[in-house]
């Protein structure tokens, strides 16, 4: 397994928003999903995940609700708000610009910007 990479400042917010764009999810699920999708490269420490969730909630980009899971347990589900959706679009655009810029500086042109 390649070593996990420290997340850039602000990237975590983007990842959370992107993950929630698909469906409402609880904290544990998000951590698992991101780890899975990144093929274990990105491991989210809970120490930073929950403060980030709270911060986004205070900003009004996401909102939370208690639901029961399929295993009949109570969990706190997070969902994108309307502001969150617009924010995601902006953040994605910013990310694209940033990664393209970095790639150009490094002299490589990637076909996809992940």
């Amino acid at each position: 397994m390649p070593p996990s990479i420290d997340l850039l400042q602000g990237t975590l917010d983007l990842l959370i928003l992107q993950t929630l764009a698909l469906e409402p999810m609880h904290g544990w699920g998000m951590a698992q999903r991101i780890q899975q999708l990144s093929k274990d490269v990105l491991q989210i420490g809970q120490g930073s995940l929950y403060p980030a969730l709270h911060r986004l909630e205070y900003k009004g980009w996401i909102e939370s609700e208690w639901h029961t899971t399929e295993n009949n347990r109570r969990a706190k589900y997070y969902r994108l708000t309307q502001t969150g959706k617009t924010q995601l679009v902006t953040e994605l655009a910013t990310w694209d610009r940033l990664s393209l810029a970095i790639a150009s500086v490094l002299g490589r042109v990637t076909e996809t910007s992940s």
Partner: protein, 880 residues
Amino acid sequence: MISELLTRLRFLILRKRHREFDDEIEFHLNEAIKSKIEDGLEPVEARRQALIEFGGIELTREQCERQRPGWWIGTVIQDVRYAFRGFGRNPLFTISVLITLALGIGSTTAVFSVVDLILFRPLPYAEPSRIVSLGFVHPLERQEFVMGRFYEEWQTYQTPFSALAAQSTGVHHCDLIENEPTQRSCISFQSTFLPLFGISPALGRNFLPEEDRANGPRVMMVSYGLWRGHYDADPHILNRMIDVDGNPVRIVGVLPKDFEFPTLEAADVVFPLALNPAVQQTVNGGFGESMRLFARLKPGVSVAQAFAQMQPLFNGDLKWFPPSAKSETRLSIRTLRDRQMQESRLVAWVLFCFVLAVLLIACANVSGLMMARGAGRQRELAVRSAIGASRGRLTRQALTETLVLSSAGGLAGLAVAQALVLVFVHLAPAGIPFISKAHLDLRIGVFAALISCLCAVIVGIATALQKPKLAALNAKTSMSRHHAFSRRVLVTTQIAVSIVLLSGAALLIRSFMKIEEQNLGMRTDRALTVEVTVPQLRYNTNQKVMDLYLRLESSLRRLPGTRAVAVTDSTPPGGWQDGFRFSDLHVEGKPPTPAGTGGTVVGRFVTPDYFRALNIQIFRGRNFADQDRTQQQREVILSRSLAERLFPGEDPVGKRFLDTAVSGAGAVVIGVADNVKNSGLTEESNPEMYTLRRSVSGDWSGDHLMLIVDSAMPTAMLQPWVRSEVSAIDRTIPLRMEPLNASLRRLADRPRFEATLLGFFALTGLVLSIVGLYGLIAYMTAQRAQEIGLRMALGATQSNILRLIANDGLRMVLVGSAVGLGIALVTSHVLKTMLFQVSIYDPLTYILIPLLLSSVALVAILIPAHAATRVDPAITLRAE
């Protein structure tokens, strides 16, 4: 955006419950454990690993909590509460800081508010720094003036000024006659006057050039006060014709509300100056009328350059002057501010320095107190740091504490300042410009509060920033060497500054006492001065004026208890009085005195009772007698100093002045009177010549006339009688009465004000320094309690301990006093011109002040030192 704001607000008010967070984390952990068990781990091991992976739960909770908007408000409240608890535990410290801040900020702000008006107030004119007052000055008139004849030339040939404008010298009375006549103070200026100062009338217009011309249309402007008060702010006042002194005059304008004459005179009515060049060549011996002249410097021209450019014109003018005046007359150009401030400037600066010194002491005190507190709290800080408080948190805590303390002190200071300003305004003599307008200036209050609080904050944070040493956790005496040394230096400085302040104040107080005690050469306690304002319209000849005064004199003489009633043109020791040059006196049979030498002689034109009314002793010869008033011969009485100068070693009685002498022509000396203080209370007296005012109409010209009544009756009873006697003669004459003592007290107002203020600040400084000294000794004694206990256990006596503690304090007092005395001796020459008959090296002051300070300081040292000797070794040693 709005919804985001609302969310923020909602969360600000409704804090999330702790439970919710716990549930969320619990769910997360359970899921993690479950997945680890599915991976085949033992439940116990799975739980352990999940917990490790998660990291600190409390830390996460803390970090989530910090995401909440407004999270910091909670910590601030916490800090403030903690600060208050700390203050409550240590009331002595808290009260000391509060008193120090209140006194320091209060006195600084109050004095700044007053001094600001004098030193830094912007004058209410356009570009006031470019406006100058210019003209001649000579020893009899120290304010610039110019004569009409020369002004004509100056206007034509001057180069440094973009505009010139003249104003009549002083106000005169004029009668406004409408339904009922009222007497007003009137003044004249040129049509260029208002534009030069950048002022436009509140209503109507300025004088037109054709109105400012001899025999031009009669017009006038009125003051805002007169317009509001007398004409009920009538908007249709323009073009109204008013009868002034018997002539109809048209009102063309109203001056702005806050208009100030550059001479700070108060006038209700302004006429155009209307200079007539032809007349100016003839009146006043061909010199023309005297005027006040103001000018605006051209851009880029300095006062010194203007002076140099005007010098040739002035030299040309000098040729016309009589030889006596030539050597004494100078050209003077100074900025308007300099003219207005006169000698107030020095007082203001001295006051300002005093206050800065007090502020310095206050800052030193606060710093010392904060330092002591910081040192005393090292242990507490070390504990808090050890259980996880970050450096930033500790600093924030210290900052909160000092800010709470500082703002409380600042508020108290502003209250003190407001009280002080009221006291100042109440105490202030009339001579200090603008002081009645002084009010608490909040900008200044904030400035003072900032400065002293800055001291507190810097020292407070500096102590908090020091990395708490682990050693402090178990240390018993935590005051470091460094702290002790800095505090000693602070206290020594305070004592030195106090010495400087105290000796300055003591010099002024001694000078004030000398002024009060001096022998004036007369008795003023029974004399009442009565000034009547004679309406010029009805008393238009000298004969009528004389008849009025003679009737007044005889009717006042008939009042019960009256011992003497005199008519004079002025009273000593201050205020307006007539004068002439010594060299103008020419004694028969003696060579004339060289022109321009010998200085000034005061001249008074009196009736015979003058010397009895003021109880002035006649040395030689005799007093004027009532029968002398009707004879042809002009008689004079000389003051002793004048007699000694004119007739050294001779008997002056019977000597005569030449008929051609400029002053005292043809008069014969009939007596010599004692010297009377006649140039104010503090100036060197001038020689004086009293001329008999005969009952001849020619002796009754001039505006300045007053009566002096010497009565056995108390003045309160006398005044209504005088009033009814005067109105029995002429009901419409306004009169003003004042015991001579009251005007005397007014002359002493200024030194009294200076001495009171500076004395107050010196005392404030002293109190603060003593508080500082006491605080330090008490603190060090407490710090050394264990050492003292140990010494006592080993056999030290109480007096040993007393000496140990007291020595420390006395050394600071001695060093501080010595340094302070040195500085005081050097700086006191600034006060030189403010002192009266007191040397700036007055030995009494420089002996008494250190003694006073040392004895107060000794008490401040002995109290805590004595407490130290009560230490019970058994208790302090066990405290380890």
